[in-house]
Symmetry: C2
């Protein structure tokens, strides 16, 4: 039985954008696993698999269901230890990936959210748009337009946030060392989210982190590059 | 033959303060290795082992010499794979420790340096004080007093920088997972540097990262706690 991978999409099922889903998409491919990708809109999530999932990504494998990108990656490591390339290269890699996840969530996702909220909204189906606006405006306590206003002035903040990642890239080409690991997919998910929803045009072409983004886009026969960058 | 560990000190050889030396001190103990700790002042470094070291920490083991804290940790992992506890738990742990190092250097060390420069100066021998002031003022392009001025206003910046670490601690007690690993010593080196030179009084007692600092101070029979905190 093939793994089912539930992937969040907007009105175009061929433009998945969720950072957490991209981590899993890359990880399944990294492990050379057969899987069926099932595009799902926000408002369709409660109907999946009898309503067990609150968020995506989620996978099913035989009778098992797993959600949360990190939990899925650990599941794939344990279940398919003999398949494809390693995602973590040891338990030290699992533990430190949780720090990479915390760094990505607190430093990059917050910034990207504030940049991309309206761009994400535009990508959604009409029914999802209503859900998205209400849920996000309730969560953040203000209109989406107000969160995004003046976003161009915040680019130096993003570049400052990238400082530790840039410093790490001076000593090795990937977080995983010579080869990418799940930690690279964690950070890449954020960049792919921004790239697919808003584009990467706000990042100066001289930014060394973009070289790493390009290496990530090249992986697995250009899997992530196959979804085109949003135009400015 | 016992390992020789060259540890940077000021006028009191019993108050080592270097963040990079503390990483190695903790790592040698973590690996249950016999070592002789040799306290060294800044201006004594060029005379060590025929002048091979530019900075500390450094170790000698039989005829081998290694400097740089990360290189020493990797050397200990390779050379003493059967001794004590693991420092990295796999190659994934080594690669991701380089990101933890980059994060610590760019986020914590810069802040601590700006806070503690004059406190460090006071700890040094007279000869080292002259070297330290000239070398640092040349590097930073201004008097130490000017760098440190107004440091109390920068505490919120430090607390903001701790955000990803705080978020990681919500899912596990150490960077290494259930047990400390070299990555914990990398971050702890920064806190111990601040603690020994200036104290930790500027960090609110409610800060969750302090719980982790206390766990680190408890390790190895209170090794790091045996050097008392600087008073405010």
């Amino acid at each position: 039985m093939t793994i089912r991978f539930y992937d969040l999409v907007g009105s175009d099922p061929a433009r998945p954008f969720s950072p957490h889903c991209w981590k899993v998409h890359m990880a399944l491919t990294h492990k050379a696993l057969d899987f069926e990708r099932i595009p799902v809109c926000f408002t369709q999530i409660p109907a999946l698999e009898g309503g067990v999932f609150k968020t995506l990504p989620a996978i099913t494998n035989c009778k098992e269901t797993v959600s949360d990108s990190m939990a899925i990656a650990v599941y794939l490591k344990d279940k398919f230890s003999d398949r494809g390339s390693h995602l973590f290269h040891g338990e030290g890699g699992v533990a430190l990936s949780r720090f990479v996840e915390a760094w990505t969530n607190t430093q990059l996702h917050m910034w990207i959210r504030n940049w991309a909220l309206l761009d994400i909204l535009e990508m959604l189906s009409q029914k999802d748009q209503a859900y998205f606006r209400i849920s996000r405006e309730t969560r953040y306590g203000k209109p989406l337009e107000e969160i995004v206003a003046g976003r161009e002035t915040t680019v130096p903040e993003l570049l400052a946030k990238l400082e530790p990642f840039r410093a790490m890239l001076a000593s090795q080409p990937f977080l995983g060392g010579k080869e990418p690991a799940f930690a690279d997919y964690i950070v890449f998910g954020a960049f792919q989210w921004l790239r697919v929803c808003s584009g990467l045009h706000m990042i100066p072409a001289s930014e060394p982190v973009l070289d790493w983004v390009n290496r990530m886009l090249d992986l697995h026969d250009g899997l992530a590059r196959s979804v085109s960058e949003a135009s400015a």
